[in-house]
């Protein structure tokens, strides 16, 4: 479904991402793990059209989407949920959700599925998005992306800034979505959370993919156990 090859990107001419390659197949949950500053956000932003890559290719469902603008890529069904969320703060929860379906007519069925998944959003439909807690905003960011019935959901550190229980709740919702057949790619610093969710993963360090494998393989790897799982 998604293939990234030889992908490099950076800021002011200095690459922080070096010839990264990975793939996500339909129905999979794939994680990209790495510590702070590894380049996860840069990778996703360049992949989703918010930053211009310096080399490489992104293919999505057979089409080359490298360097397409973010709004085009979003309309193709690749939905990015940024760690900063980028909600519309002075619009209501409801309006944020409806905009998720733009330019199509919001599907009432999808809306009720989203509100079932995140009952908090149903309670707060008339509230302004900017007045909600971090956890609720994360739910809204995911819910807004779901309103478009995405083919692939890409999440950058969905646990960022959330208390442990809320981070767990977010991943619980993601598991439900997976069961419904959604393909998910997630970048995460909190490796145990991502491992409990993903089928496969890649380890990004200083802009290079260092390791890849099934979640079980990665969990058993001594380097990962000491560096990311706190096991010595």
């Amino acid at each position: 479904m998604l293939e990234v090859a030889g992908f490099s990107a950076g800021y002011q001419g200095n690459d922080v991402l070096h010839a990264v390659a990975f793939r996500v197949d339909a129905g999979e949950a794939v994680m990209i793990i790495g510590s702070n500053g590894a380049g996860k956000t840069t990778l996703f932003r360049a992949m989703c059209g918010l930053l211009s890559p310096s080399a490489g290719q992104v293919r999505f469902e057979g089409n080359d989407i490298t360097r397409l603008p973010a709004e085009r890529i979003a309309r193709l069904g690749l939905r990015f949920v940024s760690a900063e969320r980028h909600l519309f703060p002075r619009m209501t929860v409801q309006e944020n959700l409806l905009l998720g379906a733009y330019p199509h007519r919001p599907d009432p069925q999808t809306l009720s599925t989203v509100l079932e998944l995140f009952p908090r959003l149903a309670e707060r439909r008339r509230q302004h998005a900017g007045t909600m807690s971090g956890g609720e905003q994360q739910m809204l960011a995911v819910g807004r992306a779901l309103m478009s019935k995405p083919r692939l959901l890409v999440l950058d550190e969905p646990s960022t800034g959330l208390a442990p229980l809320l981070a767990q709740a977010t991943y619980k919702a993601l598991r439900v979505l997976r069961k419904q057949g959604l393909t998910v790619l997630v970048a995460e610093q909190q490796v145990p959370l991502a491992m409990a969710f993903s089928d496969r993963g890649y380890v990004l360090e200083n802009g290079f993919i260092r390791l890849q494998g099934t979640t079980a393989e990665l969990a058993a790897h001594p380097g990962i156990r000491s560096a990311y799982l706190g096991v010595t």
Binding site: E71, R75, F80, F88, E95
Partner: protein
């Protein structure tokens, strides 16, 4: 006094509508259009010429609105192109300089070709009494049209998906892109809308008092002041600020004098920036 306040409300509604275009263009695109008043005047001249050519008033007015929208589109397609390549402060500054150039060009052209041109749309019939004050029919018709336009704008921005999409770009441009909204298409749409609204204000203003080829600067000045007081990117704020400043202007002009009243308005704008930088209805981020 009541007569002044009523006059102020008539004027204030029109101020507000002028500011809506300016404020939305700024909120969406970081572009401050100093040719706003000249666009209004040019549209008024189109109406005057169409009328002189014997067209019925509704058709002439329609042509004026069309001309206003077209001018917004032309701005987007031509002079604003280099502006779009810049970000932040440089973008605002270049937009100020280039649209100021447009305003001189338009005014110079109109002054050269139609130095004595003016649009006056007198509506006949006797005065109508409101709160014991005789109001001219032209003022009432102008206010009714302006209010109806405001109502339509509120409905558009609140209840249509296109209107929500425009607001979303003002709220968070990156967020808008991530849901598949093309920010520039929204900006272009709003530039056209602002041109139409400027033309509408010129036409309704001409029902109250004649618009001549030199009215552009004062129209832009009023619109800027109302925009600042109302808060950038805020339609409801523009309406409220327009009403308040319209009343202040009418009362001050009557009590003290026209030039002083403009200074008072500028003072009000400066005070707003000092005390409420996000405008009357704005929330600090």
């Amino acid at each position: 006094m009541i007569a002044n306040i009523l006059d102020g409300i008539v004027l204030g509604l029109q101020f507000g509508l002028l500011a809506v275009g300016l404020t939305l263009v700024y909120g969406l695109g970081g572009v401050l259009n100093l040719a706003h008043g000249q666009m209004a005047v040019a549209a008024a001249m189109v109406v005057a010429l169409a009328q002189a050519a014997g067209l019925p008033i509704w058709l002439a007015a329609g042509l004026g609105l069309l001309a206003g929208g077209l001018m917004g589109l032309i701005l987007d397609l031509t002079i604003l192109r280099p502006v779009y390549r810049l970000r932040g402060e440089a973008r605002v500054l270049l937009s100020l300089l280039l649209t100021l150039g447009v305003s001189f060009t338009v005014e110079g052209f109109l002054n050269w070709r139609y130095a004595l041109g003016a649009l006056s749309l007198r509506i006949g019939g006797g005065a109508v009494e409101i709160l014991g004050v005789p109001m001219r029919r032209g003022s009432l018709a102008a206010s009714a049209i302006t209010l109806a336009t405001f109502a339509a704008l509120f409905l558009f921005f609140r209840y249509t998906s296109l209107g929500r999409a425009v607001r979303s770009v003002i709220e968070d441009q990156e967020g808008a892109r991530l849901v598949g909204i093309y920010p520039h298409r929204m900006l272009r749409l709003i530039l056209v809308l602002s041109g139409v609204l400027a033309a509408l204000v010129a036409i309704t203003r001409a029902m109250v008092t004649p618009i001549d080829v030199h009215s552009g600067l004062s129209i832009t000045t009023f619109a800027l002041i109302v925009t600042v007081v109302g808060g950038l990117g805020n339609v409801a704020g523009a309406l409220l600020a327009g009403l308040i400043l319209g009343i202040v202007n009418a009362v001050a002009a009557d009590l003290i004098g026209t030039y002083i009243s403009l200074i008072i308005l500028l003072g009000a704008a400066a005070l707003t920036i000092l005390t409420r930088p996000a405008g009357l209805l704005g929330v600090r981020e």
